[in-house]
């Protein structure tokens, strides 16, 4: 093999990479907060919500979980404008990630809600709480705590999946790598560097989520 590795371009192009990393972080921050919120709502709707809402949410969840993220992204970015809904590439990427994580976290959180002992609901009701108050004050936090590790993994998966938003020209880390390789013709090096950054981001994100978990769930859930 006569190929000589050259990372000299890093000196010139590191601002692009930095900008890409920041965009990726922004995407996953918005995606995680709104996506998990949407997931909580959908999980409530599917487990305890009104009967007309259940099939609607179920259809949404099944549709998203059984189609590739790339196609969801293309549908939102290229497809929706023909309905008169024109979106910028970052907005489209954000929406796609929220919708995607919403569906996956719905199923994860629902599992947490369903693992709640029946007595908790009954105890809430006996304190004259409405079903929604019981959900809000009694059921929700321990349910989230139960499935927090699974939810964290899903957030990391969505962060890694966000690399495809470069395909609609959202300027994330992968976009930066593509840009650099088209300028320097150092494709392998550019992708190796960004792959390693993704690996670090994944490890970092997992740690952040552990810390966030410790913050939201200071006490051990009563079982």
């Amino acid at each position: 093999m006569t190929y000589i590795f050259d990372f000299g371009w890093l000196a010139e192009y590191y601002p692009q990479i930095l900008k890409g990393v920041l965009t990726t972080l922004q995407l996953i921050a918005v995606g995680a907060v709104l996506g998990i919120s949407l997931g909580i709502f959908c999980a409530w709707a599917r487990a305890l919500g009104p009967s007309w809402l259940k099939p609607v949410v179920a259809t949404y969840v099944e549709l998203i979980r059984n189609t590739p993220f790339l196609i969801q992204l293309f549908f939102i970015f290229f497809g929706l404008p023909s309905l008169g809904l024109q979106l910028g590439e970052l907005t489209a990427a954000n929406i796609a990630m929220v919708v995607n994580l919403g569906a996956y976290s719905c199923e994860i959180i629902r599992a947490g809600i369903q693992a709640t002992p029946k007595g908790q609901f009954e105890a809430g009701a006996s304190l004259a709480m409405t079903p929604f108050e019981t959900f809000r004050h009694v059921v929700l936090v321990p349910s989230l705590q139960r499935i927090w590790p699974a939810l964290s993994s899903q957030v990391v998966i969505v962060m890694l999946g966000s690399s495809v938003v470069s395909q609609i020209a959202a300027e994330d880390l992968t976009f930066a790598a593509n840009f650099i390789q088209s300028r320097t013709f150092r494709a392998f090096e550019a992708y190796i560097v960004s792959t390693l950054i993704y690996l670090c981001l994944a490890i970092l994100l997992r740690q952040v989520l552990v810390v966030v978990g410790g913050f939201i769930f200071p006490r051990r859930a009563a079982r």
Partner: protein
């Protein structure tokens, strides 16, 4: 301008679906074989083998599949080989699938009670014999639902190969959109075809899981 009927669009998409299915099958079977090898390394008695498998899994699960595809596409080229997209796509997907299947199966193998290992060891079985005759037959039963469930991820993963230029369903969607200027219809149909491929797999995974749980409760 040529007019395209919905049937024209659908026919072209369905023709490209063949390649999505073929690539999914290759990735799943290849990934299964490499995954089994990784599983043996992961639960081996040798520390180095365990560490290798652990870092392999960490690396492939901790980086985007898209990056792995790019690296396979451009990395193989470094050796002076002209890499066709299908080869890079197949290779990256096999390695990626293997890392997930190995980890799923490890969970299944470790859920087998310790006593089973000890009992088979006391019958004088070697490590391979223990796996072949005692552990794997039991682990297999637990492993089927999550494995079928993961196959959905493989089918969806093949969509990314369109980005390195492998012509399958997603790429066909882009090509057809560029010809017809009907992104809403085309990507809607593409999504529906993926759904038709993945949903039966998801559903059967759920059903298998329920069946298995029932069997478990009766014991």
């Amino acid at each position: 301008m040529i007019e395209f009927s919905t049937w024209d669009i659908l026919r072209n998409l369905l023709l490209a679906t063949r390649w999505t299915i073929l690539l999914s099958l290759v990735s799943f079977v290849g990934g299964g074989a490499v995954g089994l090898l990784l599983l043996f390394l992961r639960i081996s008695k040798r520390k180095a083998a365990r560490a290798f498998a652990k870092y392999y899994i960490e690396l492939f699960q901790g980086t985007p599949l898209l990056m792995q595809l790019f690296l396979a596409f451009f990395g193989l080229g470094l050796f002076g080989v002209d890499v066709p997209a299908w080869l890079a796509a197949g290779m990256a997907l096999v390695l990626w699938t293997a890392s997930f299947l190995a980890e799923i199966w490890r969970g299944c193998v470790e859920s087998i009670a310790r006593g089973q290992w000890e009992a088979s060891a006391s019958l004088g079985m070697g490590r391979l014999q223990q796996m072949r005759y005692v552990i794997l037959p039991q682990a297999l039963k637990i492993a089927v639902p999550p494995t079928v469930g993961f196959s959905v991820q493989v089918v969806k993963g093949t969509a990314l190969t369109s980005i390195i230029g492998f012509v399958e369903l997603s790429k066909a969607g882009t090509v057809v959109t560029n010809a017809t200027f009907q992104p809403f219809t085309v990507y809607g149909l593409v999504a529906l075809i993926y759904f038709a491929l993945c949903w039966p797999l998801s559903k059967s995974s759920q059903i298998l899981e329920r069946k298995l749980n029932v069997a478990h409760r009766n014991h």
